[in-house]
Every structure is written in structure tokens, then in C-alpha cells.
Symmetry: C2
Subunit: 430 residues, 2 copies
């Protein structure tokens, strides 16, 4: 774990990019592999989809669609207690996301002029859920429930099978709780291609959401434009704002809860106390010993973890805004009074009793958050990702007549005479 002190003349962006190794590089090899996969799925549909599943997931599938029996079996395995936890989490997620619902409006903007905006759910959406150790039932809830709240009618989930051809029962149980009844056992770039272009079995969708590995992320970027995508997820991160009163054990535990996600996860804290920074480091190495994912934790801590010592809170917050963490914890007293100064963060956790995991699973806000500094321009996944807007414009004859001349002048300055003609013709005799 590296600890640095902020000094005069340090460039925030440069320093952080270097320390966090945040330089984006093209990976043409992966891009070409993914392009070939997408083209093959476009041409050969289900046949190619099954070939890739055999190649990458090591299983030959007769049916890629998950059956009702498979879901029922999963529910049995998962058991009632956990099913109830899933249901309670779902309810919290639903209640929070209801706040994000927007409604169509249409109203007067002057004599003879009505303007508005229509809100319409996207008709059909695809959800990607990773397999293996990165496959989380919480991801199913977090991607599906806002879609349901938005009114999306048709949801297709894809997730890679294991080598016995099965999907993790916890993922299936979460899909059951979230009311997803169309699930396919396919993963990787080939699943993204199938959702974007359709195959004999899978109807194409208009938007694809959900996290995935580099192949999935690259495929999402390549099909973007043909369909919409939510965001391109990178390694996860946490930023903790602490002062001399914050508890180093808590800071250490929270850094580690991020570190265990991924060897490339970036857990950082910015504090105004050098003494405390040293205690945090000590605590991190003490707690790490007891963790089953110690290896992943160690790699993340060694390569990406950072303690930054700021000279005051304003400086600390400025550096944190430049880091733009996926998860931000503010461990100051009266943390809500600092909200105005926070400009870049996916989710903001206030105070000592709001650890990140309560947001990951239970509180209600989405855990699909902008990573790798993209909180500078991106938002958490939300209901707004599942609807789209249409402007509404209605002028009557008098209103159009009044502005017609100006519209025509504008059009002609742009060289668009047929635009001007479309106004003229409405006021000419047949």
C-alpha cells in the first residue's frame, strides 16, 4: 500500500493517473477477436452461439433457454431464508427506483403553442449477468428491477453456463424474484452479439445492460449504435474521506471490501491525518490475514491501494473529485454538509454506519455504478436507462403564421429552402 502526501504544485490528474495506472490502451487483438465473434453470430445465429459455448464454456447445449424446471430446482436449492432476503432486497430496490420514474407532460407555451415530452419504456432489453465468481445474484436484481419499474415489457437475461450446462442457482433464484422469465445460457461476446442482432432462438433487443469481462465490454462497445448500452464497466473502486477522528479499523475494513472484488480494484482513502494513515495501513495488513480472498485482496492493495494525506478537507475533497470514485464514503462528522462539494461519485455513503455493502445489496439505490473515473460523466444505472423521451410540438395556424417568417429566414441562412417551402405551402391556396 502506498501512502503519499499532497504537496504544492502537484497536478491532481497526472498524479492520480500515474498512481492508479489509469492509461487506456487499445487492445486490438481483443477487438479483432470480438469483431469476428459478432460477425459469426450475425451470419450463423444459434449454430455459432452453440459452437462458442462449447469452445469457451466447455459444454454442449441442446437448449440454450433455461427451462421452468431448472428455475424450480434452483429455488429449492437456494431455500426459503435466502429467497426471503432476495425478496426484501428487491422491495427496497423497487421503492428507491420508483423515485426515478418520470411522466409524460404536454402543456401550453403561449397562444396556440403546446409543447411536451413523452416518456416511453424501451420495448425490449437484454441483461448480461457474468458467470463464475463474478456472477452475483445482486446484479440480477439491480439490473432487472429498474427495468420493471420503467415498464419494460420484454426482458431477456443471458448468463454463461458452467461446464455441466447449469446456471448458478442463486442467479436463477434472483431472476425468479425479479420476474424474469426469459433466460439463456450463453455468455461472453457471443451473448452480446446474439442480443444485438438476434438468432433463431433469441429475439434481438434494443438495449444491453450489465457488467462483464473485457470481451463482454468490448462487444458492448462494438454493438453500441446498433443498440444502446448502459456503460462500459471497468475495475471497481472506493474512495474514503477521513479525518483524524475516523476509525482506522473501519477504514481498513472498507478498503478491503473493495479490494476483494478484483485484483485491479482501486481502494483509496484521503485523510487529513498522517498518523491515522499509518494506522490504516497496519490494520489493512492485519485484517487481510483472515480473509478467504486474501490473494486478490493483496494484489489490489499492493498495486492500486492508496493513502493520500491532504492538508485540509477542501484539498481532500478536490482530490477525491478528481479520483471520481465509484463508491465514496464520507467519514466526517455531519457528512451530509459536505454533499454540495462532492462533484464526482457514483454513490455517496454518509457516516460511519453506511458501509458500502449496505448499498451493494440492500439499501435500494443501484449498485451498478460508473467505474474508473467515469463518475465524471456517468450515473448509476437507473429507471432513466430504461425509458426514452420524445419531444412533442403542436402549433396552430395563427401561432405558425406569427413565427413563419423568422423560421424561413433561419432556414434560408442554412441553405435549406425546402424547409422554408414547408412553411410557405401551408399558407398558399391549393
Amino acid at each position: 500500500m502506498r501512502i503519499i502526501e499532497i504537496k504544492d504544485g502537484m497536478n491532481k490528474r497526472k498524479t492520480l493517473n500515474e498512481l492508479l495506472k489509469r492509461e487506456d490502451e487499445d487492445n486490438l487483438e481483443i477487438e479483432n477477436t470480438v469483431r469476428d465473434i459478432i460477425n459469426n453470430i450475425k451470419r450463423n445465429g444459434d449454430v455459432a452461439l452453440k459452437e462458442y459455448t462449447y469452445k469457451f464454456d466447455r459444454v454442449e447445449l441442446e437448449n440454450i433457454k433455461v427451462s421452468k424446471e431448472e428455475v424450480e430446482e434452483a429455488i429449492d436449492i437456494v431455500g426459503e431464508e435466502f429467497l426471503n432476503i432476495l425478496k426484501e432486497a428487491s422491495e427496497n430496490i423497487r421503492i428507491y427506483h420508483e423515485e426515478e420514474v418520470e411522466t409524460t407532460w404536454f402543456k401550453d407555451f403561449g397562444p396556440g403553442i403546446k409543447l411536451g415530452q413523452k416518456i416511453t419504456p424501451i420495448k425490449r432489453v437484454g441483461l448480461y449477468v457474468p458467470g463464475g465468481t463474478a456472477g452475483y445474484p445482486s446484479t440480477v436484481l439491480m439490473t432487472a428491477i429498474p427495468a420493471k419499474v420503467a415498464g419494460v415489457k420484454s426482458l431477456a437475461m443471458v448468463t454463461p453456463p458452467d461446464s455441466s450446462g447449469k446456471v448458478d442457482p442463486y442467479i436463477l433464484a434472483a431472476a425468479y424474484v425479479a420476474n424474469i422469465d426469459e433466460i439463456y445460457k450463453v455468455g461472453g461476446a457471443q451473448a452480446i452479439a446474439a442480443l444485438a442482432y438476434g438468432t433463431e432462438t433469441i429475439e434481438p433487443v434494443y438495449k444491453i445492460v450489465g457488467p462483464g469481462n473485457i470481451f463482454v465490454a468490448t462487444a458492448k462497445k462494438q454493438v453500441f449504435g446498433k443498440v444502446d448500452i448502459d456503460m462500459i464497466a471497468g475495475p471497481s473502486e472506493i474512495g474514503i474521506l477521513a479525518d483524524e477522528k475516523s476509525n482506522p479499523r473501519i477504514i481498513a475494513a472498507d478498503l478491503l471490501s473493495q479490494a476483494e472484488h478484483d485484483e485491479m480494484a482501486a481502494p483509496i482513502f484521503i485523510t487529513t491525518s498522517k498518523e491515522q494513515a499509518e494506522k490504516v495501513e497496519e490494520e489493512v495488513y492485519k485484517q487481510i490475514e483472515k480473509l478467504p480472498r486474501k490473494d486478490i485482496n493483496l494484489k489490489s492493495i499492493e498495486n492500486y491501494a492508496l493513502g493520500i494525506i491532504a492538508r485540509n478537507k477542501d484539498e481532500a475533497i478536490e482530490w477525491m473529485n478528481e479520483f471520481a470514485p465509484e463508491h465514496l464514503e464520507i467519514l466526517y462528522d455531519n457528512p451530509e454538509t459536505y454533499l454540495d462539494k462532492i462533484t464526482n461519485a457514483g454513490a455517496i455513503f454518509l457516516g460511519e454506519y453506511s458501509p458500502e455493502p449496505v448499498g451493494d445489496y440492500f439499501a435500494g439505490p443501484n449498485h451498478t455504478l460508473p467505474t474508473s473515473g467515469t463518475a465524471k460523466f456517468s450515473s448509476p444505472l437507473g429507471v432513466y436507462d430504461y425509458f426514452k423521451r420524445s419531444s412533442i410540438i403542436q402549433y396552430n395556424k395563427d401561432a405558425l403564421e406569427k413565427v413563419g417568417d423568422k423560421v424561413q429566414k433561419f432556414a434560408k441562412k442554412e441553405g435549406l429552402f425546402a424547409h422554408a417551402n414547408a412553411i410557405d405551402i401551408r399558407f398558399q391556396e391549393d
Copy 2:
């Protein structure tokens, strides 16, 4: 112009894709050219930027930044009358977009639990404005004003110079009216790269918006992830819903107002009257004779224009939703009663006196709209494109204690023991 009749068993998607030649193909040559340009700008900054400007725009520039004097000169050329039209349009655009403003909220969700969502403008945004005949002052207003309404503090506009090193005065005048004081005379993929990665002269931005040619669109797609982008604009289109009472001269004029944009523009109408469809075709060829952009119009009409005869209004609307036009005109009586049935359209123009040009320049809603069928998943450019959201989560000790056990069980099922530890540690003695 082609006229088809809908028959039983026709597949809407397939039929429209074939007629509109809407098959997306990779263009690896352009992708590679653009990748090289981006990498060169990343490595060589301003030097490369000036080299490309010399190569593509045929002008050697000393300063790429537009000076105050250049803006003042442009204002003189444009003159007061047009400046006033720009100001009036701006005011309408501002008033409409004020409706899209969202505000931060933070409230109780149960004992000891507060949740919320913070709205923060994106700090710095780049606006691309095409040059030549596709360079419209209205584009400047439509991209800049929602950014200002959202509270974006720093806006950088890029637009290619002509071979004398000047920018169209109407574009500069629009920038002046929209309060943009940072303008660079660079265009193409190199301008997008400069905005995304920064050069000595241009500070990098977090989001790039605005239309452009295939090189600009490809560059936007390649830098997406490093920065956000608005959308990938394709050829423009209009869809008109007409019945036997609609005026064929108006339908023809409105088809042509779309056709003049671009040889690949798709102007289509769906009517319930075969007789009328024939009259529309006649009118199109009559009106086209008088238009200065006759050649562009003819190519669009011959290759992409479509008259579709539906057996009833419901069928007409279903086909229109599959077309998902950028601009939709509803020429039925009481057009507002059909709004509920419209699911895919960028902007909806209601009734005979709401022609598309009134929306292009003046009414207020944005004219930057989803093209090429992307209205199935995209929205008009809006204030929401210029802010981002952060979730806010605050639990007190009691509230966390109450749910701690469930959060831990969830975390452990996902194999995330450090997540569980982050809860534990808060309730252990030091």
C-alpha cells in the same frame, strides 16, 4: 419514389430494413484511419492537430483558438436582424429545456435511513459543429443551451475552418448568442481526439456532443468510455402519418424538407389512402423542380423515400413505430389522441400547422434527435445529457444493526467475506 401496400404476413422489421437499406456494415478502413488519427493526437498534441488541419482543411493555422476579434467581425457580418432571430430562438430553447432540469433530493426511507440522489452538472463538455454545408448555427444553439441550463461551467466548441482559416460567421454568431467563449478551429476525427485526450491548447473534456460525418461519428465511438458521447448520428429521417383527409401538397413539402438534408435521408409517409399516395408522389416531383438543392432531394427521394399504404390507422402506427423516425408528423384530426400509441419517435409534430422546420429552429425542443431507427432506445439531446447523478445512502447505527445480518448473508453467498467483515467490524469492540 417507391409506394408499397401492406399485405398480410409481411414482416415489418424485415420489409423496412430492406427498403431503407438499413444494414449496418463494419467499415474497417475508416476505423483504422480514425484510430491512427486519435493515437497521433494523443502522442503529438497540437503539432498533429495542425498537421491534420493542413491536410484535411487545406489551411495552415497559427492559432487554432478563435479570437474575440473574429467573433466581433462575425457579428457584424451576420447583422442585427438575424442576431435577433438567434436570440429569440435561444430564448425558446432555454424555456423548453428548463422543464428538463432535475434537482437533488435526500429524504427518509424508514427509521434511521435516508436515501437520495444528487444531481451535478458535468464539469466540462465539448461541442462538435460540422463545417461546410452541414454546419448549422441552429446546431450551436441546440447543443449549447441545454448545457448552460444544466449548469455546465466549461464548454469548448470545435468546428473546422474553411481554406482561408475562417469559421462560418453564422456559427460564430450563434456561439456568441449561446455564450460560448472557447472555440477552436479544428474538425474531423482529430478534433474529437483533441477533446477527449487534450492537447497543449485544448483542455480535455468529459463529454462530447454534436453531429458530424462518418469520421467524426467513428471517432466518437472510439473515444466512448474515455469520455461520454451523446449519440452516433446517422442519416436523418421523417415519418408522416396521413389519412385521406390530409393535404398531399403538405405531405410532399414535408418529405422534401427532410430529403434536402442528405442524399441518404429517408422521407416516408404512411397513409390509409392509395389515391392520396399517388397524389403525394405527383406533388413531390412537381415541388422538387423549384428547389435549389434539387439534386440531393432527387437522390434521397429515389433511393430512400417510401409511401406505405396501410389498411387502417392502427396498422399505420405499428409500422411507424417499427420505422422509429427521427421526426414524426401526425396529420390526423385530433392528433394528440394518438400520442399514447406512438412508442418510437425522436420528436412528434402534431397537426397540419406543426411542420418539422418549426421544431428545427424555433419551437424550443431540441433538434438533435435519434436517427436511423435509434429512437427505439434513444432520446433527444437534453439537459439530462449534461448532468449526472450520484446515489446518496445514510444509515444510522440502529438501522445498520437491524439489516446487518441479512447484508452479511447476502455477501457471503456471493463469496464476498470482506463485505461481511465491513459490517462486523462496526459492531466489535476496538
